[in-house]
Assembly symmetry: C2
Homo-oligomer: 314 residues x 2
């Protein structure tokens, strides 16, 4: 009997697109999405989990198709009002989006774990796919620019990725435990593939891989690990991936991303535009259209990625 | 030199109308509004102070003129979204209003007092009048209906005042300290009048008077105490005052309210419609139009009330 479970490691926007594609071609109980929580932060007293939020909205069909994050049909009265009361305005929280942060914060304060809250909210929104935070323990991505350490959202939203990044750190990760359900899945002997979604390697995927035991468990699962390149034609589709690679002294290319993942990768799905760039990558290359504009694109890329994984074990 | 300071005890909607009138006929430093906090509660993890909120919005000109509570130009996207996530929907929080609750909750969790938060937010909204919570200590109004004790907002909002009220209690009041600025004012020897706004005596004014030392300090201030009747023509303008009086075995009338305040009152401003009802009230009666529909009504009633107070000492 063939193995059934697909484990997808995902950040926000780009990752959520592929996660949605996977969720539409796989039965709900055959997909487990592991969400980065290194971007999580507390803002205006609320506990915000940007990648879980994006995954939740995308998988529930509530996402804003224009921005890729936040909710559709959003209104902004809260933001219009908070500044006059002395509240910070640099991180924009829509009125509908706020419901998720307020409800999550309330439950966390009652002692529920992030994964419990996430699981219940996904269920209430009709999401069959399991979305699991990489850990219920606190991990916070920080970036060093010259001598100064910056919180991730400060860098990403407030400073719009302008600071030059010299180093990254995942505060708390040394003591963070991977979520038990992830480890149970990886050890089940039933993992068909581990998919590394086309998210920023440094700020979306590496926090997940940095959780003690996670990388080893992925390797030990025996499942093929296939990444989808977040770089198309040498550029990041969205976000600071390419800029960050250059600043870190890495090659800002699909090959540079593969090199960063190193021996974790068995397969690598790259865009046709990057065919030449990945000639010397060790993983088995699959060429595809990786820009996901339509829902059809998401499903097609999910299928290509799974096929690439399946081909590695046949 | 005549005494200058007017201290107004106020609940929400009706009280805020008179407080606004007073704020418009007095210099900012001659009015101190003492706000009931017995209605305060925690909802969806947020700290809500309904009477302070109403006073804040009314004094800032941000109030909803139709409802008398909440903000004008309000939107409801948050409420539209919270139910699907499992959040309670019976207490309606508008998107703009939410900004105040989120910001207050954030600051209280940082260790600021309710009075510090209130004072800063009033300042930011351009309110010159000082609005001071009766206490920074937690007091919670509860009501007994038959054998069951009910939280105030449960009774007031969720059950829309339907339960028969047999008893009231102000949980925590025995250990609550009156706000120091209120006591300093009352002991200053400079109090021109203490105005009891036309709020529900049981749930808006009595929690204030029940703070240990408050009633004595009012008496000891030597200032005339003048109440404005919340009953017009034997009916409450808004809310459960008359119903509650009947249920508590009291006369549901302007005279019944005066009797409830007892020897605290020196003067009593009642509506022309209640002229006959107050024949046997001990306090000096002033007849007026007490229904405040327009801004002019609010200012006029404020003036009449102050004149009544001044007449008691001349």
């Amino acid at each position: 009997m063939s193995k059934r479970l697909v484990v997808a490691l995902s950040g926000g926007v780009g990752g959520a697109k592929l996660a949605l594609g996977l969720s539409r071609i796989l039965p709900a109980d055959e997909l487990l999405v592991v969400a980065n929580t290194g971007d999580d932060f507390e803002h205006l007293g609320l506990s915000i989990s940007p990648d879980i939020d994006t995954l939740t909205y995308v998988l529930a069909g509530l996402d804003n198709p224009v921005t890729g994050w936040g909710r559709r049909d959003e209104t902004w009265s809260f933001m219009d009002s908070i500044g006059a009361l002395g509240g910070e305005e640099w991180f924009r929280l829509g009125d509908r989006d706020l419901a998720l942060h307020v409800e999550r914060t309330r439950r966390l304060r009652l002692g529920q774990t992030l994964s419990e809250v996430t699981s219940d909210i996904c269920r209430r929104l009709g999401i069959g796919t399991r979305v699991i935070p990489m850990s219920d323990d606190r991990v916070r991505t920080r970036l060093r620019s010259d001598a100064r350490w910056i919180d991730f959202q400060d860098y990403f939203v407030r400073q719009q990725c302008r600071p030059v990044v010299h180093e990254l750190a995942f505060e708390g990760v040394a003591h963070a435990r991977p979520h038990a359900d992830i480890m149970t899945a990886l050890r089940s002997g039933d993992v068909r593939a581990v998919i590394v979604c086309p998210s920023n390697p440094f700020i979306s995927i590496e926090p997940i891989l940095a959780i003690p035991g996670m990388r080893d468990a992925i390797k030990a699962s025996g499942a093929p690990v296939v990444a989808v390149s977040p770089i198309i034609g040498g550029q990041a589709v969205k976000g600071p991936t390419a800029k960050m690679m250059r600043e870190l002294g890495l090659e800002a290319s699909a090959a540079g991303v593969a090199a960063r993942y190193g021996d974790l990768l068995d397969g690598y799905v790259v865009d046709h535009a990057d065919a030449k760039a990945v000639r010397n990558v060790g993983a088995r290359i699959t060429m595809a259209k990786t820009l996901m504009t339509s829902l059809h694109d998401r499903e097609t890329l999910a299928r290509v990625t799974l096929d690439a994984a399946d081909a590695l074990v046949s």
